[in-house]
Symmetry: C2
Subunit: 302 residues, 2 copies
C-alpha cells in the first residue's frame, strides 16, 4: 500500500506521559506543556485525566489544567474518563473528546479492574452515550493489543472483539495500543489488517510504546497497512509501569523525524517540538528519551 501523504499525530504526553512519571509535575508546567504543544500545531492533545486522585495522584489537577490552558481553535483536547463521574469532569472542563479504554487481554482486565473485558466495556455505555449526546467526540483505546504483562500473547480475535464493542458504543476513533511495547512489525500488520476489516482504517490509530525499541518500525508497518493516526509523547515522557527504568511512549521527535523523511505531512513544527522536549526533560531533571531530539540538541550545542 502506498504511504499516506498526511498523518495525524495525537500528542499524549500531558496525560499518558506524565501519568507514568514518578513525581507530580506542577500544574504550571502542565499548562505550559499543553499550550506549547497546541501552538506547535498538534491537532489533538491528550490533556488530562478525570480519574480518582486516589488512584492517579499525578493527574489530580486535571480540572485546573483544562481551565487554564489557552484553547487553540481547531485543536482537539482529549481527556481520559473512566466512568460517569469522570465524564462530568470532562463536560465541566469543556473537553472536546473523551477517551474510554479496555484491554484486549482477559488476564489484564481481571487483574487491573477485576472484571471481564466485555463487562469493562459495557460499563462505558452510559459514558459514551452521554458524551455523544453532549456533542463530544469519543475515542476508545484498546490496551494490551500486542501483548499483555500477565498473559503474554493476546489473540488478534480479542483485539477485533474489543474494537467491535467500541464501534458499537459509537466511538469516533479507536486506538490499537501496544501499551507495553512488545509488538513487532509483522504482528502489527496482522492486527491492524484484522481490525481494519471491521473499522474504517481512517478512524484507527496506532499507539506504540518504545519499550523494546520497536515503535518506529511498528509505525512504519502500520503506515504500510493504511493507518494514518499515531500517538506519541514529546521526549518520550512517561515510563513503563511493568519494567522500571524502561522506555514508555514513543518519542514524538523520533516519529516526526521519520515522517518528514517519508515526505508525510503532519502540520507540526518539528523544531518547536525539539525545544519542548528538551525543556520538559530539563524540568524533570533528566536527559530526554528522544534520540532524534537529543541528537539535534547536541548538534545545536556543538
Amino acid at each position: 500500500m502506498p504511504l499516506p501523504s498526511r498523518v495525524k499525530i495525537v500528542e499524549v504526553s500531558p496525560r499518558d506521559g506524565l501519568q507514568n512519571e514518578k513525581e507530580f509535575v506542577p500544574t504550571d508546567i502542565k499548562v505550559e506543556l499543553v499550550d506549547r504543544l497546541s501552538a506547535a500545531g498538534f491537532p489533538n492533545v491528550e490533556a488530562a485525566s478525570f480519574v480518582s486522585p486516589k488512584w492517579v495522584p499525578q493527574m489530580a489537577d486535571g480540572a485546573e489544567v483544562m481551565g487554564r490552558i489557552a484553547r487553540r481553535p481547531g485543536t482537539i483536547y482529549s481527556v481520559l474518563t473512566p466512568n460517569l463521574k469522570g465524564l462530568e469532569g470532562a463536560l465541566a472542563a469543556k473537553a472536546d473528546e473523551i477517551v474510554i479504554f479496555g484491554a484486549a487481554s482477559e488476564a489484564f482486565s481481571q487483574k487491573n479492574i477485576n472484571c471481564s473485558i466485555a463487562e469493562s466495556i459495557a460499563r462505558f455505555e452510559p459514558v459514551a452515550e452521554a458524551a455523544r449526546a453532549a456533542g463530544l467526540r469519543v475515542r476508545g483505546s484498546i490496551s494490551c493489543a500486542l501483548g499483555c504483562p500477565y498473559q503474554g500473547e493476546v489473540a488478534i480475535d480479542s483485539v477485533v472483539d474489543v474494537a467491535r464493542r467500541f464501534q458499537a458504543l459509537g466511538c469516533d476513533e479507536i486506538d490499537v495500543a501496544d501499551t507495553i511495547g512488545v509488538g513487532t512489525p509483522r504482528r502489527v500488520r496482522e492486527v491492524m489488517s484484522a481490525v481494519s476489516a471491521i473499522v474504517d482504517p481512517a478512524r484507527l490509530s496506532g499507539h506504540f510504546h518504545d519499550t523494546y525499541g520497536q515503535a518506529l518500525a511498528n509505525i512504519l508497518a502500520a503506515l504500510e497497512t493504511g493507518i494514518t493516526i499515531f500517538h506519541s509523547s514529546v521526549s518520550g515522557l512517561g515510563g513503563c509501569p511493568y519494567a522500571k527504568g524502561a522506555t514508555g511512549n514513543v518519542a514524538t521527535e523520533d516519529v516526526l523525524y521519520m515522517l518528514r523523511g517519508l515526505d508525510i505531512d503532519t502540520g507540526v513544527d518539528f523544531d518547536a517540538v525539539v525545544d519542548i522536549g528538551q525543556w520538559m526533560a530539563a524540568n524533570l531533571n533528566r536527559k530526554g528519551s528522544s534520540r532524534a531530539g537529543n541528537a539535534i540538541a547536541a548538534k545545536r550545542q556543538a
Copy 2:
C-alpha cells in the same frame, strides 16, 4: 518483496563500538567480549582495527586481542585495515576478513583524509589485492551513505559509484553505512535498490546507526528491499563522534528482538546477547543503550 527467512548479523561492537568509546577498554574485556559474542552464535565479529594507535588509541591492542581470543570454527573475525601496514597486522593476526572503507561524501573524504573519494579507494587497491592473494575475505564499507556531517545530503549516485569501485577491488561484501544515523526508510529503500542494481544484494549489508532513532525502521525497509546482512553492536556500544552523548550503532538486542518477531532466523542466542550487553554496560559504568536489553533486564530484576 517477501522478507528473508534468514539474516546474517555482523557484530561490530568490539571494533566500531569500542573505537567510539571515550575510555580505553582493557584488553581482557575486549577478549572476553569477542569470545562471548562468537559463543553466542554470531557468524561474523568485527574484532579489531589495525590502525595507527596515534589516531585511534582505543584500538592499540588489536594484535593482542586477536592473539588471545578463542577462535570458534566457522566464525569470521574481521579487522579494519586502513593501509598496507594495517594489512600486515591483519595477516600476522590471522584475521579472516579485512575491512576497507570510503565515504560516499566528497566533503567528508576531503575533511577526514584530505583526498578525493576516488583517490581514497584507489589507495586500497594493493591492500585488497594482497588480502585476496592471501585468501582473506575483503569487505568494503561505504560510510556517509545516507548523509554527511559536513555536506548534509549525499547523492545516491555517489553511493553507487563507491560500491562500483569496491566491486572492482573484488570485495566479497559491501556495506551501505549510515554512519551518522540520519537516514529514514524511504531513502534507505532508494539507496539499497540503486546499489542492488550493480551489486548482488546477497553481498550487500546495511549498517545503521540509531542516532535519530531510525535504525530499526531502516532495517525493516532494507529487509523489504532484499537485504539480508546487517551490522549491530551489543548494548548499542559506541557513541556518535558528531553529536556528543548521542546514540551510535543500533543495539543488537533491539535488532534481534525485531527479527525474532518477524520469524527471521539469525542463529544467535538472544538471551546470551542480553547478558553480554548488560555485562558490557556494567563494565563501562553506565546504563546500556539497548531498549530491548534494558527492558528484559528490568523484567528479570522485577
